[in-house]
């Protein structure tokens, strides 16, 4: 409901398509991210997603910002900023294309 801001919080699973388009088709929601702030490791799918003028993905452990995506309409690009250490498997193991 609009009165409860918590309801607007989603998780990194909702970014699967966007992340795949940024990372050349790779499935990223299962990738673990080591947080530079609290040191915990969590899959991107378990990170918290906040949506406003842009997208902000935060560590579920400490709230540190892991990823921001802002659309720059004038230039027709997305500005993407990452933080932390992201572990991505080198081999293909998914049926996702």
């Amino acid at each position: 409901m609009p009165t409860d801001p918590d309801r607007l919080v989603l998780d990194g699973n909702a970014l699967a398509g966007l992340l795949a388009s940024i990372f050349g088709g790779a499935e990223m929601t299962a990738a673990a991210r080591g947080c530079g702030s609290c040191g915990q490791r969590h899959p991107l799918g378990e990170h918290r997603l906040y949506r406003g003028a842009g997208l902000v993905l935060r560590c579920p452990g400490c709230g540190d910002v892991a990823l921001t995506v802002v659309a720059d309409e004038a230039r027709g690009v997305r500005e993407v900023r990452f933080a932390g250490r992201w572990s991505v498997a080198a081999s293909v193991s998914s049926r996702g294309e």
Binding site: D4, D6, R7, L8, V9, L10, D11, G12, N13, A14, A16, G17, A20, S21, F23, G24, G25, A26, E27, M28, T29, A30, A31, P43, L44, G45, E46, S87, V88, A89, A90, S91, V92, S93, S94, R95, G96, E97
Partner: protein, 252 residues
């Protein structure tokens, strides 16, 4: 596992082959998607609608069908003041076409080979990806051996998606899943099941004990997922065995 490198994900044209009303507020679309690469239970796809003036809207939906099914099925709940769902869950007719890309997502997925025990906890239409898992389990003889339990929270009996099919699954001959309902806003006459929000006591009664190392999937509105995940951890379930997927008002 996350994967690199793979082909760029592409938009494909899907055609609505069949439409099925599930509840007064939710509808299943059976889609023909040429060259669909297959999916894992729990994955979703993005839908892109383009208006005549070129305006585009994108939404992400969980896939309801099993990987073994011939078609890709989505079940969409109508949000009355939404932008996309009144069309997909209301006005759409057989033969309509729109773009889809996917499958996407790899964190909230289960393959029969992953085994069990499997504990699925759904709130409202959070049942959709869990249904794909149950259908996959039923279609795969190896997965059928895994202990599987579904705890489904719904507002009322008439809001339960796939009610008849869940009944058939639960009554199946070979290792049927155990299915438990809790209704939070009213029960039909003679109801003997749970009738409150999911809490620790319910999870302890319904779920396999933490010592059996169940694989757990929780999907529903964000407050539901948060409270269920907290209760599961409180009961002693390993945090990294709990896979969560939150959905909320995404503009409908």
């Amino acid at each position: 596992m996350a994967t690199l490198p793979v082909a760029r994900i592409t938009w494909r044209e899907a055609t609505v082959a069949q439409v099925r009303d599930e509840t007064p507020h939710a509808r299943t679309l059976i889609l023909d998607v040429p060259d669909w690469p297959g999916h894992d239970a729990g994955q979703h796809l993005d839908v892109r609608l383009t208006a005549e003036d070129g305006y585009q809207a994108e939404r992400s939906y969980s896939i309801a069908s099993a990987p073994e099914d011939d078609h890709v099925a989505l079940t969409i709940e109508r949000i009355d003041d939404g932008e996309v769902s009144p069309y997909l869950a209301g006005d759409v007719v057989v033969g309509d076409r729109f773009e889809v890309r996917g499958p996407i997502g790899g964190h909230f997925t289960w393959r029969a080979a992953d085994g069990g025990p499997l504990l699925l906890i759904g709130g409202g239409s959070g049942l959709v990806p869990l249904m794909s898992m149950l259908r996959h389990r039923a279609a795969d003889p190896a997965g059928g051996a895994a202990d599987a339990r579904l705890l489904l929270s719904a507002r009322e009996w008439d809001a339960v998606l796939y009610r008849d099919e869940l009944g058939r699954l639960a009554g199946g001959a070979a290792a049927p899943p155990s299915i438990t309902y809790t209704l939070t806003r009213g029960t039909p006459p003679g109801w003997t099941g749970w009738s409150r929000r999911v809490d620790a006591e319910m999870l302890e009664a319904v779920g396999p004990p933490p010592a059996t190392d169940p694989i757990i999937f929780v999907c529903g509105p964000t407050p539901f997922v948060e409270s269920v995940a907290d209760a599961l951890v409180g009961l002693g379930h390993a945090a990294d065995a709990i896979h969560t997927e939150r959905f909320g008002p995404t503009g409908g």
